[in-house]
């Protein structure tokens, strides 16, 4: 499509910058066979139950990107009120608050920030969210447990 000629260039630029100046604690590499598919590694933020964990995510740039948001999903299991069993993420910038001025980098930073500040009032998995709301300490212990089991493989 001629009108999208500039867009692969944008992806190219974003990819280059992600590898040259990676955001702290985040590594995103495009798949060798598909420049729209990224494998992402994200460190759990310090001072959260996800600390010391290393999370795998996948990120896909749909045809409509950047007019459409990227699709991002956790591949590593995580106990978080805004992330469900399948790794789907409830985050406004991935949905209605998406703007083409945002980028892969800013989206991944937003996800990292979501790990630091869960939003149990806007839940994706209601049972996890209820757990966080009713007994935050207990829920964080479960999150820590899951972090050890699934995200600290080394």
């Amino acid at each position: 499509m001629a009108q999208q000629a500039g867009i692969p260039k944008r992806i190219e630029k974003e990819t280059l910058k992600l590898s040259q100046e990676p955001p702290p604690g985040i590594n995103a590499q495009p798949d060798s066979g598909n420049y729209r598919y990224f494998k992402v590694l994200m460190e759990g933020p310090e001072g959260t139950p996800y600390q010391d964990g290393l999370y795998h995510l996948e990120l896909f740039l749909p045809e409509g990107y950047p007019m459409e948001p990227p699709k991002v999903r956790f591949l590593t299991k995580i106990y978080h009120p805004n992330i469900d069993k399948l790794g789907r993420i409830c985050l406004d910038v991935l949905k209605d608050k998406w703007s083409p001025a945002l980028q892969i980098r800013t989206v991944l930073l937003s996800i990292q920030a979501l790990l630091s500040s869960p939003e149990p009032d806007d839940p994706l998995d209601t049972s996890v969210a209820d757990h966080f709301k009713q007994n935050k300490r207990d829920a964080e212990n479960v999150a820590r447990e899951w972090n050890r089991t699934y995200a600290c493989k080394s």
Partner: protein, 339 residues
């Protein structure tokens, strides 16, 4: 280099408006390189429905955020008019006399493509002259307006002489700080271009005094700027991001974060501003794509009423200066809303 544009907000271009419709949008550049053609506003060819015939809401990918059909934002027709005088808003300041604590000198930088008469009014009331329909300022106390003529020239500096200085004791203190809906403005600076004959071209800068509590000095703050173009008056408003546009173009394309590239393709130079929020963040190609698919500004997500393309090609050709020199002097403004 100062670029400024103006749009007539009161009248939005209808979709069915043909190319023969009268130009309702006026675009002003405060720079010599934007001379109008033959003294008449230059019409830009930027109302091109079907510019990209293949795209439209129908084939937009059905993303979650675009379920509803979006009426494409209109590209504004603009035209360029010459504004020969400009006070650089960021340079406006006031300095206290070293001896007398009540005497303040006003200073600012300005550009003039014509001989210019600068008049400063203190505590002035604005009214429209019934015959000429031009703004007229009347001061409450006598000797409150001071005028001086300057030759034409860019990057000139104005500083009040001792007879022109502001004496705080000559004016009621409460009128030196502007309050909303007050009928007087503390300071009005008029730059009137001489040489255009009967056709009036002036710029007005309205300012207010504020007490800086830390230093216990008064300082001067701009309230607004207006441009008088013949009988029409436009309020000058900034376009956010224009100061990064233009300038040197060599590095564009390789530099990953020059800050001048379109936020969508990250490749082309920004030349299109979103209205009404005035974020200049798009190149014209992406603007054409975006207006079919989204009605929100990429920067602030406010609804888009129209898009305004600002040509920066002339600037590149006529002023090969680059980097800071070319962009720091920008007053980066657009005028809107005839009063």
């Amino acid at each position: 280099m100062g670029g400024s544009g103006s749009t007539n907000r009161a009248s939005r271009n209808g979709r069915d408006q043909g190319p023969t419709a009268p130009p309702q949008q006026v675009y002003i550049f405060q720079n010599g390189s934007y001379a109008p053609q033959g003294g008449r506003p230059y019409q830009m060819n930027y109302n091109t429905a079907g510019y990209y015939p293949n795209i439209g809401p129908a084939i937009a990918p059905p993303g979650q955020h675009m379920r509803q059909q979006i009426a494409p934002a209109q590209l504004k027709k603009t035209c360029v008019v010459k504004n020969p005088v400009n006070l650089k808003k960021s340079s406006l300041a006031m300095e206290k006399d070293p001896v007398s604590a009540n005497i303040y000198y006003i200073e600012f930088d300005f550009d003039a493509l014509d001989e210019v008469e600068i008049t400063i009014y203190f505590v002035a009331k604005e009214a429209e002259d019934k015959n000429t329909r031009l703004p007229r300022f009347t001061c409450e106390s006598k000797d409150s307006a001071v005028s001086r003529r300057f030759p034409k020239g860019m990057k000139q500096h104005y500083r009040s002489s001792s007879s022109e200085a502001l004496n705080l004791l000559s004016h009621p203190l409460d009128k030196l700080t502007y309050k909303k809906d007050a009928d007087t403005y503390p300071v009005v600076i008029e730059l009137h271009a001489i040489g255009a004959g009967d056709f009036v071209q002036s710029q007005y800068t309205y300012a207010s005094l504020e007490m800086d509590k830390a230093s216990n000095n008064w300082s001067l703050h701009t309230l607004k700027q207006k441009v008088q173009y013949g009988e029409k008056s436009y309020e000058v408003q900034e376009i956010y991001g224009i100061e990064k546009a233009g300038g040197s173009s060599e590095s564009l394309g390789d530099d990953l974060s020059s800050g001048r590239e379109c936020v969508i393709c990250l490749s082309e130079e920004r030349d299109t501003a979103v209205l009404p929020c005035r974020h200049m963040c798009l190149c014209n190609g992406c603007a054409n794509i975006m207006r079919m698919q989204s009605n929100k500004c990429p920067i602030c997500r406010q609804p888009v009423s129209s898009l305004l393309q600002i040509s920066v090609q002339d600037r590149k050709r006529t002023s090969p200066k680059k980097g800071k020199g070319a962009s720091s002097s920008s007053s980066s403004s657009a005028a809107a809303a005839p009063s």
